[in-house]
Each structure stands twice: as structure tokens, then as C-alpha cells.
């Protein structure tokens, strides 16, 4: 990775459950103040909390630039509904939507639906890949210029620019086309946590942004290289992949902690990497890893969202900006633009063009 590649930063704004939107709006605005690429909001059917996609939709009109990435499970949900909801988040935010694809592996979650038994992670991640695939097809099922409003012929749409997706997966099929027209970004941004073995293939194949957990730069670099290699094997240009190191951060209440640095394996971030220290040292770590090519950026999960996000933005990010290592304003409007990712061409329009 060239040393000049832009640094990408994102933050999780979940935490102990809150039921008032003002809380989430405050955090998203704070992150936007720091010009972060996006915020994520975790979700699960198995623990208290609101539906994350709806919360970020409520946040959308109250913010202007920040990307909005809710966790969406693909296990007990309908792929058709999910793709509509994510596309709609993109419409209401004018091109700032993503979705963090997840699976529900537990029996407790399965019993909430009573539709299918719990299944092994690798099977569910294959299905998650199919969900991502059908989502992208549905987003393409309307070409961008399908709506013509041609008074002379009475045609509202050019139906040759709407397409059945005719998707046949292992556990579901979808005929299409979408109800929602192609969203502003073409495809909202797909985020996948590619740390675990079963998720990695799905991440390499379908992710625009892949999160990895690592406790040393060499480990992150290896994960990134592996993901890029796998992406290439799927016919993708590896440069269309952004690999972010996921860090749980505890910025305490001192500028620098006595022993700053990474620790692995504390109970709060099972299997992940956990940073404890001050905002300045965190900035040092981010700069060092990024400069060394270990990652395209970082996804930070504050241990106490209110306190730590404030320290990330006004401490860590401010310092990175001061050193010209991170942007001070958003040059573009959409999440894809923040990430330096092109708006995807429409597969059906391309096919039509060749025919």
C-alpha cells in the first residue's frame, strides 16, 4: 500500500441499550464533526435494544455527511425485505447507507422465529453471501434511468430497464425486480467482519469494507493480504476492498495511561483486540499501523460511547488531522465517496450494452 493512501476511520455508536433517538443522534453528530467515514450500530435479536437500521434511519435527517451502517442479520430475515430496507436507508440519507452483514447462530435466536433450527456458522455465512449477492442484484434490477415519465407514450418506466433477478439460492429464491428503485450509491456499502474463519470468504467476495481483529500490525497485514488475495480469486480488483482493523478502545480519563497499548483477550472483546490508553497514543498507533501498510483504516468501538467517542474525535482524530494524516472535511457526499470507492456499474445495463 502506498504511504499516501488515505486513512479511513469509523466508530461504533452502540453500547448499553438506549431507547431515545437523541442519544444516537448526538453520537453520530460527534463522529460527523470528526469527519469519520461512518458510524456502525450493532444489533442482535438476542439482546435488548432497538432495530439498528430504523435507528440510523431516524438519525439520517439529523446528520448531513456521515455514513450510516447498521448491523443486519441475514439468518432469520427475508433477503427481499432486507435489500429494500437498506436501499431505503440509502434514499433517506441521500447516499450514506451501508449494512454490516451478520448471522444469527444461536438456538435462542432461532426460537424467536420458530422457522428453522440453529445452524452452523459456515452454513449461515454462505447464506449471508447469498443475501449479499441477491441484495446487489436487486439494487441493480432497476437501471438508473429506468424512470422515463414519457407523456407521449403514457409510459412511466421503460420496462426494458427493469429486470427479474431470478435468484436461486440454497435456502431461498427471489424473482424480482426490486420494489425500491436503484439507490443513490448504486449499491449501499457492504461491511463484513472477516475475522472469523467462516466469515472470511463471504467478506472477500462481497465486502466493500472488511473488519479484522488483530493484536499486532503484522497480523493485520497478513489478514489484509489474505483478503485481497481471496478477493482477486473472485475476480475482484483488490483495491476495491477497504480493510479496517477493529479495535475496542478504552481511553480512560487520562491523556496517556501508565501503560498504553494493546492487550489481547480481555473479557469485553472476546477474541478481539483491545486498546487501553490515551487519545494521543491511540493516534500514534493508528498512524504507525497505517503507515506500515497494515490496514486501510480503523473501526473503533468505544467502551463507553459518550466519553470515549468524544476523546476519539477531539483527541485522536484532531491530532491525526493536525498531522495531515486524516481529512478535516468531507470532500464528497456519499459513503462511497468517503471511502474512495466507485459507484458500481449496473450489471444488467452492462449486459444490455453487450447484447
Amino acid at each position: 500500500m502506498p504511504a499516501t493512501a488515505p486513512l479511513h476511520l469509523a466508530a461504533e455508536i452502540g453500547g448499553p441499550p438506549r431507547y431515545d433517538p437523541g442519544h444516537y443522534i448526538g453520537l453520530a453528530r460527534l463522529a460527523e464533526h470528526g469527519a469519520l467515514d461512518f458510524v456502525t450500530l450493532g444489533d442482535s435479536f438476542a439482546r435488548p435494544g432497538l432495530d439498528a437500521l430504523a435507528v440510523l434511519s431516524r438519525v439520517a435527517p439529523a446528520t448531513g455527511r456521515i455514513g450510516l451502517v447498521p448491523t443486519v442479520t441475514t439468518t432469520h430475515t427475508e433477503p427481499f425485505h432486507v435489500s429494500s430496507a437498506v436501499a431505503t436507508l440509502d434514499w433517506v440519507s441521500r447516499g450514506r447507507a451501508g449494512w454490516n452483514i451478520d448471522v444469527s447462530t444461536t438456538g435462542a435466536e432461532a426460537r424467536l422465529f420458530g422457522r428453522r433450527p440453529a445452524a452452523p456458522a459456515d452454513e449461515l455465512w454462505r447464506e449471508a453471501g447469498e443475501s449479499a449477492d441477491v441484495g446487489a442484484r436487486l439494487w441493480d434490477s432497476w437501471e438508473d434511468d429506468a424512470e422515463i415519465r414519457d407523456v407521449a407514450t403514457g409510459r412511466f418506466i421503460d420496462r426494458d430497464k427493469l429486470h427479474h433477478v431470478d435468484f436461486e439460492g440454497a435456502s431461498f429464491s427471489v424473482r424480482g425486480p426490486a420494489i425500491v428503485p436503484r439507490p443513490p450509491q448504486g449499491h449501499p456499502v457492504t461491511v463484513v467482519d472477516g475475522t472469523s474463519g467462516p466469515a472470511r470468504e463471504t467478506a472477500a467476495r462481497h465486502g466493500d469494507v472488511v473488519l479484522v481483529r488483530a493484536t499486532a500490525p503484522e497480523q493485520a497485514a497478513a489478514a489484509r493480504a489474505d483478503l485481497r488475495r481471496r478477493a482477486a480469486a473472485h475476480g475482484r480488483d483488490p483495491d476495491t476492498l477497504r480493510v479496517l482493523v477493529a479495535l475496542t478502545v478504552d481511553l480512560g480519563d487520562a491523556e496517556t495511561a501508565p501503560e498504553p497499548g494493546l492487550e489481547s483477550g480481555p473479557p469485553l472483546a472476546a477474541g478481539g483486540s483491545y486498546y487501553r490508553g490515551g487519545p494521543v497514543d491511540l493516534a500514534e498507533l493508528i498512524a504507525r499501523w497505517h503507515r506500515g501498510g497494515a490496514a486501510d483504516g480503523f473501526h473503533l468501538t468505544p467502551i463507553t460511547p459518550g466519553r470515549d467517542l468524544e476523546r476519539i474525535v477531539n483527541g485522536t482524530v484532531a491530532l491525526l488531522q493536525h498531522r495531515s494524516l486524516f481529512r478535516t472535511f468531507y470532500p464528497g457526499g456519499t459513503l462511497r465517496e468517503h471511502l474512495g470507492l466507485a459507484r458500481p456499474a449496473n450489471r444488467y445495463a452492462l449486459e444490455g450494452g453487450r447484447a
Binding site: 433517538p21 435488548p48 430504523a54 435507528v55 436501499a87 431505503t88 433517506v92 420458530g114 418506466i157 420494489i179
Partner: protein, 439 residues
Amino acid sequence: MHLAAHFPGVNNTTVWADPRSRSQIDFSSFEHLARTAERGTFDFFFLAEGLRLRERNGRIHDLDVVGRPESLTVLAALAAVTDRLGLAATVSATFNEPYELARRLATLDHLSDGRAAWNVVTSSDSFTGENFRRGGYLDRAHRYTRAAEFVATARELWDAWTPDGAPRPFRHRGQHFAIEGEFTVPRSPQGHPVVIQAGDSPEGREFAASAADVVFTRHGTLEAGRTFYADVKARLAKYGREPDELKIMPGVTFVLGDSDAEAQERAAEIRRQQVSPQTALLALEQIWGRDLSSYDPDGPLPDIDPDPESSLVQGRVKHGDPSPSSRLRSSRGGPIAVAARWRALSEEKGLSIRQTVIETTGRQSFIGSPRTVAEQLTEFVAADAADGFILVPHLTPGGLDDFVDRVVPLLRERGVFRSEYTGPTLRSHLGLAEPVWKG
């Protein structure tokens, strides 16, 4: 009187060819109409749902407005730009699961401080089912048993939280659902989101009487409205409910003018725009079930008979139509009977195909000066033909502007409609009590 705003959506009511017509997708359109409705102190803002694009002979129907965002997500965003307006989403009970949908609705109720509503629909043709995990799914007989069990289950989930703020385990065993666990969302600000029902069969009416807070109907004429109103309200006692606990709100259109004559003229022009020559032929095909594309829309009706088992046109919600076989038997309903009625009308009045469609497919419309329309609306409510109306404008998104600016003040003057919101929640707008917490 209760008033709600229907966002003009996917149908030929919306006159997209009008130069004032704007995007039906862009958030600014939703924001404009919702803010207008809130300025008019309306009870709620209403979004319909369709889960598959209409087709004719395997090809997407291309004449009407198509494409809309997903309702609950749009409404969550609208909660940011409105304060009091109720937010109602139509969501199928057939192609969703209780746990997930109850959670999304409770979330909307929290995000809007108690303004969420769910219009429970059941449309379940296998054509729509092709977009879902289940595939075809559910025959007619099971649609309302599923819907009723779905709503009952959702209510169990909405109550599955203790007053001191902890999830209380639930367990539901029924014909359609066997689920258990903990609900992730505390009881919502309204207790339960408002439940609306749209569906006209005896099963649908019974379901409404047993479980709904509001009925969305098409019975908009005075006589049909009174009959429907009396029928549905009479069903309530059986469930231990008072007539006031269910509001009946027909979906109606309106056209305003400075004078009644001007409004009539405008209404005729709007009908011509809504029923273009191509739309007229398609409307005919929906009954005949045959390819009629070679007919002249300005000529007479076809003299061939309809094909009652046809699937030429798919994805159109058939409001109140029984199954094809009982449609054939029924004197009112079947395509052959409808075709005969249309033919008789066209011969009697010398109407072309297009003119016949214009005559027969309009829904109840209040047409006139603001004063006339205000009078008519008031009369309908006074005559027990409705508790209020869901207004369906023909323009997106400015179609409600004139109504709010010119009719609402007259309704307020007459004292039949509120001048300001008196409570924070949609239940309070509708005068509905918070459901008893079965904790």
C-alpha cells in the same frame, strides 16, 4: 372527524404527467407531504405496500407510477422531521414473522415518541410469494387466521417487558407460530402501536372487529359507507368492545376549485389524465383476462366474453374479490358479471372503452369548492358513514397543500376538526385508550 394523508403511490390515481408532479422516491417528497399533513393537524400519514411489481403477460406494467421505498424505514426518517403526526405503515402479515415485525414496529413507536401504526394486510398470491423464502404460500382460508394470530402474538411481545424495565420471557404456541424467548424492546410509548385493518371480506371485517383500532375501507359513498359502518360497528359487541374503539376511515380522493363548477371541470380533466387510452385498455384486460391491445380505446367494448381463470394481469391487489370460482358464482363479483354490467352501461350511454373505464373505476371523490367539500365531509361523519377519511391526493408531493390551506380551516371553523394536537401520541389523536398491559 379524523383525517389521514395517503402518500400517493403506485396506481393510476397519481397523475405523474402533471408538470407539478415530483419524485415519488426522494425523501423530500415524503417530507413535504408529511409536514403538510402535520400543519393540517392530521391524525396520521399513511403508506401502502406492494411486494411485487405488477405484470402483464410476464412483462412489468409500465403505465403507472412504480417504485417506492420501504415503509418502516421511511417512517423512521420522517419521525425526525415531524413531531405529532402519526406514522402508519402497511405491512403484510403473510410475508413477515411476528418477532421481527413486532420489534420494528415497537422501535418506530420509540423513535417517534408514540406515533406508530401498522396497517395489517394479507395479500398472499403466489405471484408475490416468489420473492420470499416461503415461495407461494398460504391459501385464502389461512390468511386471516395467520393475520389474527400474528397480531395477537405481536401484542404478547409488546407486553413482554416488566414495568420496571426488564424483558419478561414469552412463549407463544399456536396454529401458525411457535416461538419463545425475550423481546428486545421495552413497552412502547403508546403501549401498542395502533393497528389498522384493510380488507373487506366477512373474514376481514371480523378480524377488524376483534383486533383493529382503525379500518381502512373503500366504501366511500354515503349509502355504502353507512351500510359498512353499521355492519362493522355491530360486530364489536361480540368482542366486548364499544363502537368508539374502532374508527372507520374510507380512502377518498378530492378535487377543489374556486367554484363547484370549476372543481367539476378539473375533476373531469384529472380523470382523463388518470385513465389514459393505454390505462383504459389495461383496466379492461384486468376484467377480461385477455389480450385486448388491438382494441381502440375510443371504440366500443369487446363483444367476446372474459376468461375468468386468466392470469394475464398479476400483482394487482384485488380488493374484496373472492376466489375465481366463487367470483364466477357470485352475482356481483365475477368477471363475466362485471363485463355484462360494463357492456350494458356502455350501450345505454353510448360510451367508449375509455369513457366506460372512467365512469366505473373512480372511487368516492369529494369535488367542489372548499366550502362544499367541508360540508360533504361533515355530512358523511354526521350520517355515520365514516369516522373520518384517509385522503388520497392525485399529486406527489403537493397534492394536499390546497386541502390543508383551504378545507381544514373551514372544518375547524365548524368545530368538527381539531385546531391543534391535544396529546402527544397517535392513540391520543384517535381518542383511543392505551391497551391494558397484560404483564
